[in-house]
Symmetry: C2
């Protein structure tokens, strides 16, 4: 069963990865940036929470609407294809043949395929959807579930780098703890993310760590610069 | 040429949409949230710039590494497929047949297709990559270009809601201008985004506006709550 090597991560895991990788990075970098400019952790917490709320809604709702749009798009194309195989069947058969012409099959074989496929309209349309248009049927309720998963993952990811600021009143001091805890989490998250997506795990973990550190360092430097 | 209706937006436009839709939303909501908690625009500007820097790096670099990972994945699967058609050609022919069995073609025709396709190894592998694994060949330099486009779009999107805070010292006052200018931009952006992706334009514009307004209102309420 060598097929299993090709196995891809599930959509839910993909959504967790999307939400958490931004959640761990952006609020962390924002908090780091603000720590370079304001002394009180209170303001960092306020800004951080505002960012987490904004980011999770933007990503979650964005994900929801993107999922809905995808489903609408699929259904309207599906209707069009059913319509077209009734209205211009020869045109659609030609499209089937073109798919196989691209793969170097002989015209005789192209014709046979098109004629046989035309016998079952559902399968014919399914073929056109997938191989002419490259569209997969979206799962039902996918949009809502995706929105929730991405949003919640963003919140969980974002709370981690912010948590030291709840307990340490001086923002510069809190930043040290935030860096330590976030770096560890970015590495662990990057490790599992790479495992799940079939990438080299340590290299992937270092990449994720690098993005987080770079974003935080740049935000810190920029905030210092603005505040003189 | 009814094909043209199916035309999808280019990758560059997709990247601009990704960067700008988050750029317009998250910094806007963060600024709105902070305006509910601190009176001075200076802190809002510092936080906003830190967020824009962090967000553009996270998204841009994230996009770059995702593109690189996709290319690596494609190349390793490509190598595997070439290897497999040499090592276990009958196995791979069976996989070609399975693809067509799913579309209801007769076993005789499946055999003919598999035999004919096996004559040209490049096209055979190309078929397996696209139709068995669902992988498209990534464009060269796509990753770098994608990173830059997403990152720059995020910065441009983020500067718009922040701009009033540069000129108006009182954050609550600046928020009014920020809301006005951002709402207009969200609507216009949503309108063009929908046009480009072939969705109903006004409905799409209202959706984008809604996400931005909801994120900002929630961030504002949350920041008030924490500081109140």
């Amino acid at each position: 069963m060598h097929h299993e090597h090709h196995l891809r991560s599930s959509d839910t895991i993909r959504d967790i990865v999307i939400g958490m990788s931004d959640g761990l990075t952006v609020p962390f970098a924002l908090a780091a940036g603000l720590s370079g400019a304001v002394a009180k952790s209170g303001i960092v917490v306020t800004a951080g929470i505002a960012e987490i709320v904004a980011g999770s809604i933007a990503m979650g709702l964005g994900g929801f609407l993107a999922g809905r749009t995808e489903a609408d798009h699929y259904n309207s194309e599906l209707k069009r294809e059913y319509d077209e195989i009734e209205r211009v069947p020869e045109e659609e058969k030609k499209e089937v043949k073109e798919v196989f012409a691209d793969f170097g099959l002989s015209p005789a074989l192209q014709n046979q395929i098109a004629d046989e496929m035309a016998k079952d309209k559902d399968k014919w349309v399914d073929f056109m959807m997938r191989y002419e248009l490259g569209l997969e049927k979206p799962e039902a309720n996918r949009a809502t579930q995706s929105a929730l998963t991405i949003g919640i993952s963003y919140v969980i990811g974002g709370i981690i780098p912010l948590s030291p600021y709840f307990f340490v009143a001086n923002s510069q001091q809190a930043l040290y703890y935030s860096c330590a805890v976030t770096m560890v989490c970015l590495f662990v998250f990057g490790y599992f993310k790479s495992k799940v997506t079939g990438q080299p795990a340590v290299a992937g973990a270092l990449k994720v760590l690098l993005i987080g550190a770079l974003a935080a360092a740049a935000a810190f430097a920029m905030a210092k610069l603005i505040n003189g």
